[in-house]
Symmetry: D3
Subunit: 194 residues, 6 copies
């Protein structure tokens, strides 16, 4: 394979051509991760959509609240697995392994979260998230009740559902654009650091 495979069906802008704020944000990620996750380059084709996407992502994934960062990523991986989204399973699977300090958890949650090594609390969280992902029109009071039984507040329920909803969008954007995960993600968090 002489050429690198395309990362998008659409044109991918050169960093130099991007507005300053977007280039700055991408630079920031690169400094931290050591590479630029393709989602930034693919979505930068549409600067306004890029800005809104990133702002929404940060509002849901970086905020304080009852869910740990690992739990948020677990929701992403479970619902992206249910939606057969390669980019999100691979990229967020990497982040989940790192946050949860668990090299096995992402594959378990992506393939069949019912068989994953998770606590009953997290199982209830994932049941709610996957129902929002696949059958949101059937969500009712009993779904909230079950979350409460596991100690989740209603604000936590919003977080779980909103993350599932945001990645319902992301999964469709990734599948529609043919977004390709960076090769780097596949191995991240699998080998314990010494």
């Amino acid at each position: 394979m002489p050429d690198a495979p395309a990362i998008s069906r659409f044109p991918v802008p050169a960093l130099a051509d991007l507005p300053d704020d977007i280039r700055g944000r991408i630079q920031e990620v690169q400094d931290k991760a050591g590479f630029v996750p393709n989602v930034f380059l693919v979505l930068a084709h549409r600067p306004d959509e890029f800005r809104a996407f990133v702002a929404y992502h940060d509002a849901l994934m970086l905020k304080d609240g009852g869910l740990s960062k690992a739990e948020r990523e677990m929701i992403v991986v479970a619902t992206s697995g249910a939606n057969d989204c390669l980019y999100c399973v691979i990229a967020h699977g990497a982040i989940l392994r790192i946050y949860d300090k668990n090299p096995l958890i992402a594959d378990q949650v992506a393939v069949n979260y019912r068989k994953a090594d998770v606590t009953p609390r997290r199982r209830a969280m994932l049941d709610f998230a996957v129902k929002v992902a696949l059958r949101a029109s059937e969500i009712d009071e009993t779904d909230y009740e079950r979350l409460r039984e596991h100690g989740f507040s209603d604000e936590d329920a919003w977080d779980i559902g909103a993350i599932a909803a945001f990645f319902a969008m992301s999964n469709r954007l990734a599948n529609m654009t043919g977004m390709r995960p960076n090769d780097e993600f596949y191995l991240m968090g699998r080998v314990p650091r010494r």
Copy 2:
């Protein structure tokens, strides 16, 4: 029914308690529409998410491009119908009737877009949008080819798919929060203005 039905499962902030920018935006909509669509009040429970949601919505629905405003709303109604989302079918159905100056189109598109009075070009647009909504993991080159045959550019294809993706999120947020459409929407655009 003495009390008005709740418009959300979650707390709804009073306008006076909202940050200035959000209250300003809501005021603007009220001045234009004559009432505040409930989506603004329901999502204002989370100011940061509100801002990102509105920015994303505007980037997709208010931009220039190959799709008319009526066509954009048609995509929203067709995919929201496929997702059984009451709020989005009712609210965007009203907007679609007004933009398309067609009192019948929204109900047709929401119930079964295959039977709607639309041109073959719009039918192809809705087929693509509904595939992104329901089976995005199967989108492939042939789907883009079919859009091109009907005169859509690839930028149009992005618009169609991104609107379907954004409302995949909105539909889930509405179903999760139990968002109730304002009564005003049901009749809007149905009676011809004289």
Copy 3:
């Protein structure tokens, strides 16, 4: 659009060519409604089937019993929505709005009956009806038990299930023939009479 769109894929008989009893029945409806609902014209292509269809419809929808007329129409709208049948959602939605004196109820029930403003009793009725519409082979004693808990007799259960079954047929006839709802239905019952 200079020509009116076709109301059926099949030939539509002229009123003058119809057998007396069928023309009489159609005249009766026209006198009452002010127009002839297209279902009568489309099915009149087959006089014997027309007669049986109308007789069956009347036996289920006009009979006395534990269900109000509004409730019967509500069953029609919910199951027709589940079957994506444009004609039945639009035509019976109009009748439902009038019988229930509620301009919002039809759209709610058609898009997602789980979010409609209905009593728990009516919710149970619609759950049974939609199960007959979509998964009749799984109906069992527990479904009847639940209806009884909400005060429905077994004769009521027959009515609910038989209406859902009859419109399983009607929905398929309408979708197969490309039956077009009359424009008049869309607005009926939406504007309060003074």
Copy 4:
């Protein structure tokens, strides 16, 4: 099993208590078949619905036209198999074996009509019928085209679709009432007459 199993969840009227026309019709069937098919007894619980059901059935199944009687029964068996309806598969399977003088055809068509020993023309007929049974909202012009390619007129298409639609109703009535097929049906048409 000392008691015979119930043939319906609902009360089954005694022949003596039935209106004359219904008793007459049932008597006629009994004289011809040697026993009373349970569908007549189960539906006689509702005399008006009984009359409409039988009239509709006869209008579709006994009329002249481009479909043979065996073909009509074949449509019933294929769609009833797709709907998991025990009564209709067993009762109409018996009739199909007799009309088609083929002891194997009913089981083939009920289990997987794609593997049945049928001509390409009958295969096209069954494809149309099963699409009306399961996905009627997607029926479009290409489905009619395919029937025409196999020599079916549009009137034949109506017959195929209307039979599939009528049995969509019958299957739901049978599943809802727990209608039990008579033991006699299971063996009928399996042993060649000498």
Copy 5:
């Protein structure tokens, strides 16, 4: 139909060309049944796979244990019906009728096991088997609990699930090869012996 229909899409070996052990096994079945079930001829195209298939079949179907032979065949017929597998429904339906001494049971179980004349214990057995056939990834502890409530040991549960799993394979092999059931099976066990 001058030629007998093919029993496989693939070449079917002549008995004389088969390895001794396979010909011996086939001879044995023929002596017992009076004919050679086509599955033996179709799979003999691949001798090593034939041997493993037969060994696996015998390990599950001929072993001692808490399930009667009729119950094992009932699992085969219910899951093969769920998978629309003509060969297995017809061939194992015949065996089920004979083992259960019940000429009606196979058709009941194949079309809709929920309506079959079976004990609550057997109903629970079939619910578990069909869940393994159709939704194995959702099997959890509650499914095992329900079996225990009906007196099944965990070894019985393995038997039920393993038979359902083995015929998940067989059904796919039969559907893939176009395996045709022998005509003899259709009538076997339907006419009481005197």
Copy 6:
């Protein structure tokens, strides 16, 4: 987590208690792989089934033919992903990475084989395999034609379908027993050997 998680819902035999041939086979795998894959221990609970399973596996996966070993494993991973089977995705994903000398391929194929970096020939192979896995009753001549267009012989087609069928069984056994993949598999084949 002080105790290692169970690898099966059922008793797992000690190696010392196993029949010689089974212990020998397991020893062989351990010598080669450096550990005992849990499938061997879980299935050894039933020695006869173990023997048949292994013989069948070897007949399909170790034979000569038109499919490479990597292609066989690719079929396993794609169909196991479609069936949400954790054990098979993880264990065979490891083997696929090694055989294909490609650290990315297994995750791609498991999550969404349509987005995997595979040749059109392999894409056609996986389309056929996944159809056998999910909709085998609809396999027909056109599916075989498409394989031939990509250079597959009919014997190759049998291999593809038979592997998909065998793992339809394996996936159900793994899901039913709660079979846990060994931790070792997750990392195998991901880090290039130097």
